[in-house]
Each structure stands twice: as structure tokens, then as C-alpha cells.
């Protein structure tokens, strides 16, 4: 039982982690609290769904397309909306992403209806039994995707020129500009990558979850909390924060009460920021 819950908790954690890393990237680089990250995931789910509907492709096969599409979608949003919002006050930036989320959710309701959807006939399905633990292969897809995405993200941020430029920009925009980094491009790419992460996450989630247009809003606050737990702006911290969230979520849900599990997450978060205002791993 314990191991089973731990496994489910880690699976749940990978979802939070994927969400949180996207939020943390945007927060760290351009100091925007992005309310639309959950909606980006939702859009990715529907893209996967439509690809499957039109061509019958499995979500796994569609994933590269979804990621690229979401990356371009992110760039588009950045060019049309975010770049402009960045010139305004911080609060406007936050509200713009909230309004964007509202537009995406309701746009999707108009486009695809408000009913729940799912992708049928997955390539990988069934369970593996490991002693007392039943491992669902569908959820394994999610876990593997999350690990691969996190790995790629770390590689990108630490090893590539663009990644280093983004990190430099997030630390000190002016200094980065002085040493010849095009901060506008760095912002744009960072926003695109954040959308691409949502793309990978959303695509993988269709493997084991139903979804509807307003799925993003339910997640939002927990994505934020995960980011805060890890200490803002740090991607590694966001990943760990997400995993912790998943484990708290499942353990309180299983051993205490399902109805109070989100409250447990919120209360633990509030206690942490009360006593450690910069997050668990914040400096």
C-alpha cells in the first residue's frame, strides 16, 4: 500500500513538476507570475487530441509535433502580448496572463465544447506488477516524459549558448544586455520553451487522464505553490517542489481524506512561507 501510494504520488508529482518548471522559467526570467501556464497544457492536450482524431496517431508519436507547435504558439503569444505587457506595471503583466487563460479556456469551449475528452487506444497500456505495487504503463509514460524533459531543460540551460544567455538575463538584465546578449530574444525563447514544456506535459497527460477546457484553472495554484516551495525562479527547485506536492497530495488524499488534500497542500505551503519566506531552497 505504502509503495503504491508513493508511486502514485511521484506520478502526480511529475505533473506538478512539469507545470511548475514552466512557471518558474517565466517567473525567473521575466518576473511574470504566469496564470496561463495551465491553459497552455490544456491547449497541448487538445492539439494531441485533434491530431489523434485526424490521423489516428498515438500521443507519443504526436509529441514532437505538439512540442514544436506549442513552442511556436508561445513565441506568438510573446510577440503579440507579453512583450507589450512587459513595458507596463507588474500587476498588468499578471492580469494579462490571467485574461489570456480565460480567452484560451473559453475559446476551446467554443471550438471543442465543454465536455470531457480522452484519447482512445493508446499504444502502451496495461500494468506491470512488482510485488504489491501495480505500475500503470500509461502513467509510466508521464514519468518518463517528465524526466526526459527535465533532463533536456537542464542540458539546455547549462550547456547551450542560448540557455546560458537566458540564465544571465534572469540574473541581471542590464548586465546581460551590456555583455551583448539580446535580452528580448532571450525572453522570447524562454517563453517559448515554457510553452513547449507545457506541450510535452499536456501531451503526456492525455495518456492517462481525461480533460476538458477548464482543466488548467484547477491546477494553477498548485503549480504556483510548487514553484514557491522550491524557491522562486529556480527550475531545479520547481521540479523538487512539484514532486513534494505530488507526494503530499497523494498521501494526505489516501491516509487522511480526499476532500482535505488540497487544503493540506495549501496549509503546508502557508506554514513554510510563514517561517521561511523565500521557499525551501531559496537563498
Amino acid at each position: 500500500m505504502f509503495l503504491q501510494v508513493l508511486y502514485e504520488g511521484l506520478t502526480m508529482g511529475t505533473i506538478y513538476a512539469l507545470l511548475a518548471m514552466g512557471i518558474a522559467l517565466v517567473w525567473g526570467v521575466m518576473n511574470i507570475l504566469s496564470f496561463s501556464q495551465g491553459e497552455f497544457m490544456m491547449v497541448a492536450m487538445y492539439i494531441t487530441f485533434f491530431i489523434n482524431l485526424a490521423t489516428g496517431w498515438d500521443p507519443l508519436a504526436a509529441m514532437p509535433i505538439v512540442i514544436v507547435t506549442m513552442f511556436l504558439f508561445g513565441i506568438l503569444i510573446y510577440r503579440t502580448i507579453i512583450a507589450r505587457a512587459l513595458k507596463g506595471p507588474v500587476l498588468s503583466q499578471r492580469l494579462v496572463t490571467f485574461a489570456l487563460g480565460m480567452v484560451l479556456t473559453n475559446g476551446m469551449i467554443l471550438l471543442a465544447g465543454g465536455q470531457t475528452k480522452s484519447v482512445p487506444d493508446k499504444l502502451i497500456s496495461g500494468t506491470i506488477s512488482l510485488g504489491s505495487v501495480a505500475i500503470s504503463k500509461e502513467k509510466m509514460v508521464l514519468v518518463v516524459t517528465s524526466i526526459v524533459v527535465t533532463g533536456l531543460l537542464f542540458w539546455f540551460m547549462n550547456r547551450t549558448k542560448m540557455g546560458k544567455a537566458i540564465r544571465a538575463t534572469s540574473q541581471d538584465k542590464e548586465a546581460a544586455g551590456l555583455v551583448g546578449i539580446n535580452t528580448q530574444t532571450a525572453y522570447m525563447i524562454a517563453f517559448g520553451i515554457s510553452a513547449a514544456i507545457a506541450g510535452a506535459g499536456g501531451c503526456a497527460m492525455t495518456y492517462s487522464y481525461y480533460f476538458m477546457p477548464n482543466i488548467g484553472t484547477n491546477f494553477m495554484i498548485f503549480g504556483f505553490i510548487a514553484v514557491c516551495l522550491g524557491g522562486f525562479g529556480s527550475i531545479g527547485g520547481a521540479f523538487i517542489g512539484g514532486m513534494i506536492m505530488g507526494i503530499i497530495d497523494l498521501f494526505t488524499g489516501t491516509y487522511l481524506s480526499v476532500s482535505y488534500k488540497y487544503m493540506a497542500v495549501s496549509v503546508i505551503f502557508l506554514l513554510i512561507v510563514t517561517f521561511k519566506p523565500k521557499g525551501l531552497f531559496g537563498r
Binding site: G107, M108, F232
Partner: protein, 337 residues
């Protein structure tokens, strides 16, 4: 004597109040249609909440994303006061407001030390807790909520009107009171200190501002006003449940209304509330067969206003640049761009 000198120095504000109130008081003369008057009531209630949020979010610059909590507390106290104890909302709304202040005091103690996004996220987390408590606490109605329509008593006792025109005027009176309070705050030491905290907290501290105390008071006053708004809303809708009172979007809509109207201004919340409520209500009625379209339109409008008018719709009236352009136009048409 003193009142006279205050009125003299506040000539501009008094004139604005008179103009706006006369216009708002005369609006029901245009149409007494049920839907129209309901929308008016709702606009005024949102305006009250906007004015309340503006005290902490606009003046003191602490952007709370969790004011739905105070809205709900006000609504629940009003609802249960009437349903269980037959107490008139005229009394219970003050109990609700006091409870909101107490809650703000307790919650503000750890939260107001946080800055920026952390404060916003923490306020969201608190509302999430309140939402879950309300959903699971069967004593106060649980997930199904409370229905408390009272036919037996006088509508002036219950504030539940069949014809909502009197209710509109009652709400309007409250709004007027809060507008005046908002102005007094803005023009007082308290308001200056709040603005100083918003501009630069460390700098304000070294100029002698006890930021913790001022933020806490701003938060409490803000909570109380929003609580009254919630009490009025409860009697307006006569049915409340956690799903309609406590979603994240409610907290965000209060913020949106103020920002779209004009954050930190007296009339911004009122303007924002009226315009956005009317758009939302009529879009919903107009496109009721196309679910999602009303909020889609609402979202697009928010995007446009927030992006292109960062100081809100009110800046159309107050912006010197705009005024300047008009003046220039009058003086010499060529000079204008």
C-alpha cells in the same frame, strides 16, 4: 466651520460625486426592466468590492489575489444570520465586516510580510483553504450551499426585493459612503503612507512609516468593505455556495475590475465595475446558446484594456496627454498628431 473648509478644499471631488450620483440615480428612469436593474445592482456591488480591494491593492500596493475570502465571509454571515436567526442584514453585515477585519488581522500577520508574487500566491492559498472548509462543512451548507429566500418578512428588513429598484438605491448609498471613505483615506496621512509603502517600502520605513502596521490596517479596512459587498450580494442572489463564491476567478475578477477601471484612483473601481459587469451580463444573455463566448469576449476585452490602457479606463478622462491633444486640437488643428 470645519466641514465648510473641507468642502471648499474638496470642491472638485464634491462636484464629481454629485455628477456621478445624479447620473446613477437617474439611470433606472431609462428602463426599469428586470434584467437591466439586476445588472445595475450587480455593478454597484462589484464597485463596492473594487473600492474595498483598492485600499490594499491600489493604495498600499499589496496585490491580494484572495479577496473572494472576505466576499464569502460577508455573504455567509448575512445568509445564515437571516436563515437561522431571522436577523436583518442591516445588522449582520456589520458582524460580517467585523469578522472580515478579524480574519484579515490574523491572516495578515504572516502574509503581509511577504512581498510581490509570494504575497499574491499565499492569499490564493488561503482562499483555497476557505473554499475547502466551506465545501466540507455541512453545518454551513457544505457543497450544496444555502438557499435563504424569505417571503414572510418586509423586503426592507431582509433586503430581498422582488422589484430590485429600491435595492439598487440601497446599494448605491453604500457605494457613496465607501467612495467618501476611499477619498478620505486617499487624502489623509494614512493614504500618503500607504502610497509611500507602495512606491518603496524600505524608503518609506526610513522616512518613519511603520509599514507593517499601515499595511495591516489597509488590509483590514479593505476586507471589511469587501465583506459588506458580500453581504449585499448574498441578499441579491439569495442562494450561495462555495462554487459561486470562492473560485480563484472571483478573486481575480475583483482585481481585474479595479485595474481596468484605474488602480489607486477613486472612480476607477466604479467605472471598471459598471463597464465590465454590463459587458459580461449582456454578452451572456446575448450568446446564451454559445457557451464560452461571453467569457471569451470578456477575456479579449481585458487583454486589450490592460495592454493598451495600463492606467485603466479612467485615464481616458484624466490623462494629461489626452487632454493636451484635445486642447491642441482646439487651438490649432495642425499641431496635433
Amino acid at each position: 466651520m470645519r466641514l465648510k473648509s473641507v468642502l471648499a478644499s474638496e470642491k472638485g471631488f464634491v462636484r464629481q460625486v454629485v455628477i456621478v450620483m445624479v447620473i446613477l440615480a437617474l439611470i433606472p428612469a431609462i428602463s426599469r426592466g428586470e434584467f437591466f436593474v439586476s445588472t445595475l445592482c450587480l455593478s454597484v456591488i462589484w464597485a463596492i468590492m473594487g473600492i474595498g480591494w483598492n485600499v490594499i491593492g491600489g493604495y498600499a500596493g499589496q496585490v491580494s489575489n484572495g479577496h473572494a475570502m472576505f466576499f464569502a465571509v460577508g455573504a455567509y454571515v448575512g445568509a445564515w444570520g437571516l436563515k437561522a436567526f431571522h436577523m436583518t442584514p442591516w445588522i449582520t453585515m456589520w458582524i460580517g465586516a467585523a469578522l472580515c477585519m478579524l480574519l484579515a488581522f490574523i491572516v495578515g500577520w504572516p502574509l503581509l510580510r511577504l512581498r510581490g508574487h509570494y504575497f499574491a500566491i499565499s492569499t490564493m492559498a488561503i482562499v483555497e483553504c476557505v473554499r475547502i472548509i466551506c465545501t466540507n462543512w455541512d453545518l454551513i451548507g457544505g457543497a450544496t450551499g444555502v438557499s435563504f429566500f424569505e417571503k414572510e418578512m418586509s423586503p426592507f428588513y431582509t433586503l430581498q426585493f422582488q422589484n430590485r429598484v429600491p435595492f439598487y438605491y440601497i446599494c448605491l448609498a453604500f457605494m457613496l459612503a465607501f467612495i467618501i471613505i476611499s477619498r478620505v483615506i486617499q487624502q489623509s496621512k494614512f493614504g500618503y503612507y500607504c502610497r509611500a509603502i507602495k512606491a518603496n517600502q524600505d524608503s518609506a520605513e526610513s522616512a518613519g512609516v511603520n509599514s507593517t502596521s499601515y499595511k495591516r490596517w489597509a488590509y483590514m479596512i479593505s476586507a471589511a468593505i469587501v465583506g459588506i459587498g458580500g453581504a449585499l450580494y448574498a441578499q441579491y442572489i439569495q442562494y450561495i455556495d462555495p462554487v459561486s463564491l470562492l473560485p480563484l476567478s472571483n478573486s481575480m475578477l475583483i482585481v481585474l475590475i479595479v485595474v481596468m477601471g484605474g488602480i489607486g484612483t477613486i472612480w476607477g473601481p466604479v467605472l471598471g465595475a459598471f463597464i465590465m459587469t454590463f459587458i459580461n451580463q449582456y454578452a451572456r444573455a446575448l450568446f446564451n446558446q454559445l457557451s464560452g463566448l461571453n467569457l471569451f469576449i470578456y477575456g479579449v476585452l481585458c487583454l486589450i484594456i490592460v495592454l493598451f490602457l495600463p492606467k485603466g479606463l479612467i485615464s481616458i478622462f484624466t490623462n494629461d496627454k489626452v487632454k493636451g491633444v484635445f486642447k491642441k486640437n482646439k487651438e490649432s488643428g495642425k499641431e496635433a498628431e
